[in-house]
């Protein structure tokens, strides 16, 4: 049968996928770079208004969120390191903490934005429009930039949750052997799986003239403390995204919360 069977294995280019993620991250940097450019020009034009408006922001909440994101970056890196060390359990725990940190960040953001809305500070509010132009611009940039950053955190959380589920229990590789031609040679026989000592583990129906092809699909489930490259390649790429979200916050934090 070996002469007529084809082993189907998907070609995976891990280096290429990593390069692809980096190229995507570059577009993210330029996306936020454009907004930072807008911020710096308006800030140089309305320095006093920016200082007054920034006084409205809660430095403590900003600092706490910075600590949360930095810690989540640590657990993310630890999760990837754990996969390299073959420690599946630690990888999953660290990944869960990372997602929880992201959730904590978003909860803080919810209360922070909620407080602003409560004080009638939101884009286009009459209260805000009565303020000097620079302050309106500051809050416009604040809601846009932290808002788009928040969406990125949410996307990262979804991505990491998917990774968590994948590592938790999905079969991590499938190989299918297909016998199409030359079935006549085994007509009238049964197909069987045997173990190492030739004991029959599974026996199929008789292959008669009506059988056009035989598909055998095998799934490999990771046993404890065993990882395939594909597992941590996807996790690494998701981790890169999570870290870039952290880097963007590293710049947002001093520019919005620390200019009083």
């Amino acid at each position: 049968m070996s002469n007529h069977s084809i082993a189907l294995t998907a070609h995976k280019d891990y280096r290429g996928s990593k390069l692809g993620i980096w190229l995507f991250l570059i577009t993210e940097i330029t996306l936020f770079g454009g907004m930072f450019l807008l911020y710096s020009i308006y800030r140089s034009e309305y320095p006093q208004d920016f200082h007054h408006a920034a006084a409205e922001l809660n430095t403590l909440v900003g600092t706490v969120n910075t600590l949360i994101l930095l810690t989540s970056s640590l657990t993310m890196a630890l999760s990837i390191a754990a996969t390299h060390h073959g420690n599946r359990k630690l990888a999953l725990i660290m990944l869960a903490i990372t997602v929880l940190c992201g959730a904590g960040f978003m909860v803080n953001k919810y209360f922070e934005w909620g407080a602003k809305f409560h004080h009638h500070i939101y884009p286009g509010s009459e209260y805000l429009l009565a303020h000097p132009k620079g302050e309106v611009l500051f809050f416009g940039l604040y809601f846009t930039m932290t808002g788009i950053h928040g969406i990125h955190v949410l996307v990262g959380m979804v991505l990491l949750t998917v990774m968590f589920i994948r590592i938790l229990g999905q079969p991590n590789s499938k190989v299918a052997f297909v016998a199409g031609h030359g079935l006549g040679e085994i007509e009238g026989c049964r197909m069987a799986f045997v173990d190492a000592s030739d004991r029959v583990v599974w026996k199929g129906d008789e292959v008669d003239g009506s059988v056009q092809r035989i598909d055998v699909k095998t799934k490999f489930w990771p046993v404890k403390q065993r990882f395939k490259v594909a597992d941590f390649n996807q996790l690494e790429n998701s981790g890169l995204y999570w870290h870039i979200v952290d880097i963007i916050w590293i710049f947002l934090f001093p520019l919005f919360y620390l200019i009083t």
Binding site: G34, L37, L70, V229, F251, P254
Partner: protein, 99 residues
């Protein structure tokens, strides 16, 4: 498959300790940037804040994002972005500042 696996393990697995050290240095830099903001450096305060942010971002890129262990193409990509951002921001400011 074996080729890729070899590629993937081009560097030894990084120990956990380095990451804790990275995290700790980031926390220290955060404390410094918060403290520096309260010191009223005037116009220099934004420069100080941005410099610290750049150092923090570099640490994250170099260690957390494994740029330290990557091939040259990844480093070159970063320089392209940095160059592009400097050009974008620099050129725009030469316009707005001297208008």
């Amino acid at each position: 498959m074996s080729d890729h696996e070899h590629e993937e393990h081009a560097h030894e697995p990084v120990g956990y300790g380095l990451y804790f050290l990275t995290w700790f240095s980031l926390l220290v830099l955060t404390a410094i940037t918060v403290a520096a903001a309260g010191m009223h450096f005037g116009n220099m305060s934004v420069v100080v804040a941005l410099l610290i942010a750049l150092v923090k971002a570099s640490i994250v890129l170099w260690l957390f994002m494994h740029l330290k262990y990557e091939e040259t193409i990844f480093h070159r990509l970063m320089w392209v972005v940095i160059f592009a951002m400097v050009v974008f921001i620099g050129m725009t400011f030469t316009d707005t500042l001297f208008r």
